[in-house]
Symmetry: C2
Subunit: 287 residues, 2 copies
Amino acid sequence: MLDCIIIGSGAAGVSAALTLRANGKSFMLFGSAALSEKISKAERIRNYMGLPNISGEDFCKAVQAQLVEAEITITQEKVSGVYALGDKFGVATQEGGYYESASVILGCGVESVKQIEGETEFVGRGVSYCATCDGFLYKGKTIAVLCTSKRLEHEIGHLCSFADKVYLIAMYKDVEMGDEKVEIIRKMPLKLEGEKRVDKVVFADKTLPVDGVFVLRESVAPTVLVGGLRVENGHIVTTRNMQTNIEGCFAAGDCTGRPYQYAKAAGEGNIAAHAVCAYLSEQKKKA
Amino acid sequence: MLDCIIIGSGAAGVSAALTLRANGKSFMLFGSAALSEKISKAERIRNYMGLPNISGEDFCKAVQAQLVEAEITITQEKVSGVYALGDKFGVATQEGGYYESASVILGCGVESVKQIEGETEFVGRGVSYCATCDGFLYKGKTIAVLCTSKRLEHEIGHLCSFADKVYLIAMYKDVEMGDEKVEIIRKMPLKLEGEKRVDKVVFADKTLPVDGVFVLRESVAPTVLVGGLRVENGHIVTTRNMQTNIEGCFAAGDCTGRPYQYAKAAGEGNIAAHAVCAYLSEQKKKA
């Protein structure tokens, strides 16, 4: 069994991985080979100690090279659920993968695009976060897809292979969806409506009837990811040691609160990794 | 009045300074042009995100260049006391300087050399931390000097200009004190003894009679620096926001606890700087 699974390849996850590696721990790092869209798109980072006035792109390149040097690979699967199973954790991915570890570090970021009114209410009743898992349910149907990142476009492509009509509510630039089925909408909806299931997306100026709504964000809300996780005002609550309310489950970076800064996230990732090492040796003593 | 005074030029202090600068705040950064002995002497730093496998020396050079670029200068005075004066702080230095600021960030590190038994007991009664302040009191006398860093040797030189006999208990390599008055000792004393004032330094194999003891460390204990500061197990207690128990006084880096890591210190410096910004705007609203 792995010592740890790190979820998220932003500054927190990468820093945690480097520190676990330096401490000889076994782990998997889930995320994107591109690391973090927030980092790579940053124009200039002016206050990260050691890398003066660097562009987000160059920052990413430096970190990617460092990961290669440290022989850390990123598992590019989207984590769909984290399950606390007594003295271990199970981590499932949208791609159908399942992994186990003694501890977990959540570095899943925060979503800059707010939840839509009705979104949480209709989860599992027409609202889905996983094109791969639920796309086939909408064969011949009309769906709306709220997508926050160009990197998730391939999932829309997957949905197009089932649905007849796709309203793409695109929260990113340079949309490249040539499919005839796709109608691009550039406004945020006000809310989702329906009786038992969602059946309407309501905008300020119109209402679209739909059979389902897919919400594709870079990060999944931590409470959706980990059942029972304590969250306040959208941020995971941790101790100074980065421990969450769930034993063996730590969190670091933007998901734990402001400031949303690389240095802060990297620092917390470092602390979380050290806390994992301490946790593992305690568990060993108990066994 | 300055927005902030940062005490300590290690990773925490530097990171805080870069962030305050990026936020347009006025501040002074107290420390050493060489930044931090702990950093510069590190052989390899393997887990600092963005700077793979870098030597402590190169790390220091990178940070020094960054400070120059950001037009941040380090005030090379040793802070001897921080005083909470209602809605502002007064900061005094051993060199006789006095400065005021609306807030303070303590990035003063932790002392790796432990306190000697009796040290705290005899502070002000023969034990001094300041050669410049108290050296003249020992004209023609015999003193012991516990010194933890080569960088503080010039202070021993100052003491030699007064004292007749100096026992130098050197906790560092490459001692270069040619003065005839100086007798170098390579062992840690067990304790300090005396009646009203300290008058003996006790070693395992001998006892030296002295008129005074100077303890020259890179960092001053935070409780000596700031009266009333809440400290537990040698570490300053802070919230997740790096706020100490004293309003307007924040802390970051090794002085707040383990892990003693650059990433952690830089991250906390960043958080503390943001907390200072929030604190300043709250104070403005109140005024």
